[in-house]
Amino acid sequence: MNYTLTAYLICMLLVASILIQPGMHIISLRSEGLEKIFATDYWLTLNALIYIYGKEDSIGEFNSFLNSELNFLNPRIIEVPNVTVQYLNVTGSRIEVQLTFRRQWTVHRIHIFLKAEIVDRSVKHNPERNELTVTLKVKFYSDRPVHIYFKVLDGELLKIKNLVDQTFEIYISKSLQSISRLVATDSRGLKVTINV
């Protein structure tokens, strides 16, 4: 029995030594959400698009601003994508961009736009005030539903009628000589300008 007793003692020592130093590995796994990546890239693009409003070299400004935004992405938090500008069109009444974001595990496109289309336009002369009253019927197209806010430069915004399907009837008063402009800003911050 001496051998068994000695074996017991050795076993107890081994067990105690293992218990003193816990050698278990704890592995944590995390997943990256595609929706989160889409949304983050959407805001990157949108912010750069808002930035270039009113800038002359829109393509150059867009690229440099987007690159500066990408420099702020921390790879420990979110993988920094490779971005290719596929399409960028900035005119007065239209702002549109399409980008491709490439990551190790996914490739996706972001397409953002806001377009204004004049559906109807009528002008009345007000002889009492010697002013013109312009009625514009404008339809807006966007990649997602947005609220539109209006401002008139060199004129007065008289009334806005919100019709169906992002269409608005806008009444503007302006002097005979002035070239008024209607600035439409959506709830994201994108702006387009329409000459009245």
């Binding site: 068994t4 704890i26 949304a39 983050t40 702020f72």
Partner: protein, 124 residues
């Protein structure tokens, strides 16, 4: 006879030691897999909401609570906003164990003002 008893004793002792050693080896190789699900999808849905983004940038805790409560109901959560250097700007909700879904929003309205958004939600 005495020699046979010693042999049996030695065999029993060896068996015991081998069993303990094998078990200890197996235990030392064991890994515990703790799989936390970060609320990535929820953060993605929140980020699509302009109201949420503008509430983040205005550090409006009341508005953020209202938005999160509308999505989560009574589920405990923790939303922490940090600046680019990791300084805490705002934290709402309760302490929650688990992984945080996190992302960086670089700016809004054509400005550069990076904010790190971390969201944890208690898992059922």
């Amino acid at each position: 006879m005495r020699g046979q008893i010693f042999t049996v004793d030695a065999v029993a002792a060896s068996t015991l030691m081998m069993t303990v050693l094998i078990n200890l080896f197996l235990i030392s190789q064991m890994s515990i897999l703790v799989k936390y699900e970060a609320p990535e999808s929820l953060l993605g849905i929140l980020l699509k909401d302009e109201e949420f983004i503008y509430a983040v940038y205005s550090l409006d805790s009341g508005r953020l609570r209202a938005i999160l409560n509308s999505y989560l109901g009574l589920t405990p959560y923790n939303l922490t906003l940090l600046d680019a250097d990791g300084g805490k700007l705002l934290s709402i909700g309760v302490e929650v164990e688990g992984l945080a879904a996190s992302t960086i929003i670089v700016g809004v309205n054509g400005t550069v003002n990076p904010i790190i958004i971390c969201l944890k939600v208690r898992q059922p």
